[in-house]
């Protein structure tokens, strides 16, 4: 029954065969997960955010489990753009996986440099711009928490990226008005929006009586934050009816994914759930297809934003 649903997802100029992607930082560059499911079957592999230089990340402990969630403070550990291109991107290309490359920088220039370096690389379906990282030029304020900073980054990345490659700005929920930031990114040239990144959290270890993470605070992810994520997608879909949205935050099964689609996401990323079930992205693709079929949808596209419809009782 489920194979009658047209599962293609439209993300700006790119059409993916499945609306389920991995989430940045939760799938490395796809290779490890390929042992558990065929990474070419899902929508795309979204790679761990890459920076210009190699980066050690933070000391351990880097994680703490929390109720229905987890905190992480990895600190964007990675090999730097050159090794990423020569190893990870190459593997993904040779494997035939669609790839969304996530980039992160500490300054507008670094983002520009990354975009520039990736410009002529093949096999990149889209760029995801992780603006939820601190701006070293602005006392460490996170780009995504300031419409102007966010907009400068997106503007620079757009200028250094070919028109055929869509740019998704990845938003943080830790703002007073997420629609405001979304609007700023779109005005600056973002083709779509990814949301949400983790929300800032903290655990105190009651044995050591110190913060549980070496990094003190960390990013909260998993089902615990799903209601917040669905709310963000809903608000931004309302404010920007035509902008493609890649939704994420606590998706662990097909019905969770359906919530995001109904709230207005055009596709979804699966992050933390992969740690429990390494084949989660593909399982969720299938569960979502079945859920759509059960509800009589002919295509995924028909379900996008369906919860916003005005009919019967006016919500």
């Amino acid at each position: 029954m489920s194979n009658v649903v047209d599962m293609r997802a439209n993300l700006a100029s790119v059409t993916l065969p499945s609306p389920v992607l991995t989430a940045s930082g939760c799938a490395a560059a796809g290779r490890e997960l390929d042992k558990f499911f065929d990474v070419t079957a899902i929508g795309a592999v979204v790679t761990k955010s890459i920076m210009v230089q190699p980066r050690s990340g933070r000391p351990t402990p880097r994680m703490a489990e929390t109720p229905a969630g987890m905190l992480n403070s990895i600190g964007l550990q990675g090999p730097g753009i050159e090794e990423f291109i020569s190893k990870d991107l190459r593997w993904l290309r040779e494997r035939g996986a669609r790839t969304v490359v996530s980039i992160a920088g500490g300054s507008v220039n670094e983002f520009a440099e990354l975009a520039n370096r990736l410009r002529h690389e093949e096999g990149i379906a889209a760029l995801e711009v992780n603006i939820s990282c601190p701006n070293v030029e602005s006392r460490g304020q996170v780009f995504a928490c300031d419409p102007r900073a966010a907009s400068s980054v997106i503007h620079a990345v757009r200028r250094h990226t070919g028109a055929q490659t869509p740019i998704f700005a990845k938003l943080s929920p830790d703002v007073t008005d997420i629609a405001d930031i979304a609007q700023a990114c779109v005005s600056a040239g973002a083709d779509g929006l990814s949301m949400i990144n983790t929300t800032l959290g903290m655990v105190i270890n009651t044995d050591t009586m110190r913060p549980a993470l070496a990094g003190i605070t960390g990013g909260l992810s998993g089902p615990a934050i799903r209601p917040m994520a669905v709310r963000c997608v809903w608000q931004v879909r309302k404010a920007l009816p035509d902008v493609p949205i890649l939704g994420m935050g606590g998706i662990a099964n097909g019905l969770d994914a359906l919530q995001f689609i109904l709230a207005g996401a055009n596709a979804v990323s699966v992050g933390t759930a992969t740690f429990n079930d390494p084949s989660a992205p593909w399982r969720i693709h299938n569960e979502l297809a079945a859920a759509l079929a059960d509800r009589g949808f002919r295509s995924l596209a028909d379900a996008v934003g369906h919860a916003h419809r005005e009919e019967g009782v006016n919500l």
Partner: protein, 299 residues
């Protein structure tokens, strides 16, 4: 001293639905026996399993990791696996409360196992607390190759030793230490190590246990110019190499220190590869270490 590996690379892990066959106490620990089709055959000593915990819908998202203690490929149920569980937190408590016949969701075998020496050299195996769990399988493999195996088990107190009876049967010698002297020599495993190495000419030290103990073993090995292999235990979110939570500073074959995943590049490392003093920090000469002391705050 060379730090090349002389064993085989790990086989790929599989995710299977296991079934609990038995849960029994052993001192302060529990031994959990389960059927897990396909796992036993592929397991080498030092591999670990990652098990999903909590009844659905649970608040515990992350799998719990355990060294594989024993495997039996002859089981009627397509291979059985045993682990030793220290039930101190909610996930491990849940696990040891399973009843016979309960399903469990298992990913295994994970990680790089211990490398085995080509030649029949004498080996000393050192286990701290439940850290001894993987050493009995290792002892069997080593003895199959003609290696002498001296086993050292250490713990804070008698009830926190694991495998004393088994150890006597399977090793050439068994030495026990406890911090409180409740069994064996009062003291630390490292206190008895030199004598053992002197007496039997040990060429490789294998260890599994707390970080401090492993650091001690690595130091002894280094001082003697012999090889040590240590199975570390870092908090892991995924166990399969995708999350980067389980890292520690490890020196690569190029001499460069990197924050290295203990789930896929370990849990077994050569003792001289690990920057023991820097575990829990990012050494300033690590690849990509922050330039300033505090670094750019980043999540």
């Amino acid at each position: 001293m060379a730090s090349k590996r002389f064993g085989k690379p790990d086989a790929g892990p599989i995710q299977v639905r296991g079934e609990v066959l038995a849960v029994r106490r052993s001192g302060d620990y529990y031994v959990l026996v389960f059927a897990a089709p396909g796992v036993a055959e592929a397991t080498a000593p030092g591999n670990f399993v990652a098990i999903a915990v909590g009844g659905q819908p649970t608040a515990m998202l992350l799998r719990r990791c355990f060294s594989i203690h024993r495997v039996d490929t002859a089981g009627a149920l397509g291979g059985t696996v045993e682990i030793v569980v220290d039930a101190h937190g909610p996930g491990t408590k849940w696990l040891v409360e399973r009843a016979v016949g309960d399903p469990i969701d298992v990913i295994a075998p994970l990680g790089r196992p211990f490398s085995l020496p080509k030649d029949p050299v004498p080996c000393v195996l050192v286990g701290g607390g439940y850290g001894s769990a993987p050493l009995f399988m290792l002892a069997d493999r080593l003895r199959e190759r003609g290696c002498r195996v001296d086993l050292v088990l250490g713990a804070a107190t008698e009830s926190r030793l694991f495998g004393v009876v088994d150890g006597r049967r399977r090793a050439s010698s068994l030495t026990i230490t406890t911090d409180d002297g409740s069994l064996g020599t009062k003291g630390r495993v490292t206190d008895v190590l030199d004598r053992l190495l002197d007496d039997h000419g040990g060429q490789v030290i294998y260890g599994c246990g707390p970080m401090g103990m492993l650091a001690g073993l690595a130091k002894v090995a280094q001082e003697r110019g012999i090889v040590s292999q240590c199975a570390v235990e870092e908090a892991m979110a995924c166990g399969v190499g995708v999350c980067m939570t389980c890292v520690l500073p490890v020196i690569g074959s190029d001499g460069v220190t990197r924050m290295t995943r203990s789930c896929t590049d370990g849990p077994v490392f050569f003792g001289d590869q690990v920057r023991w003093d820097s575990v829990g920090t990012v050494p300033s000469d690590c690849l990509g270490a922050p330039v300033s002391a505090t670094g750019g705050a980043q999540r």
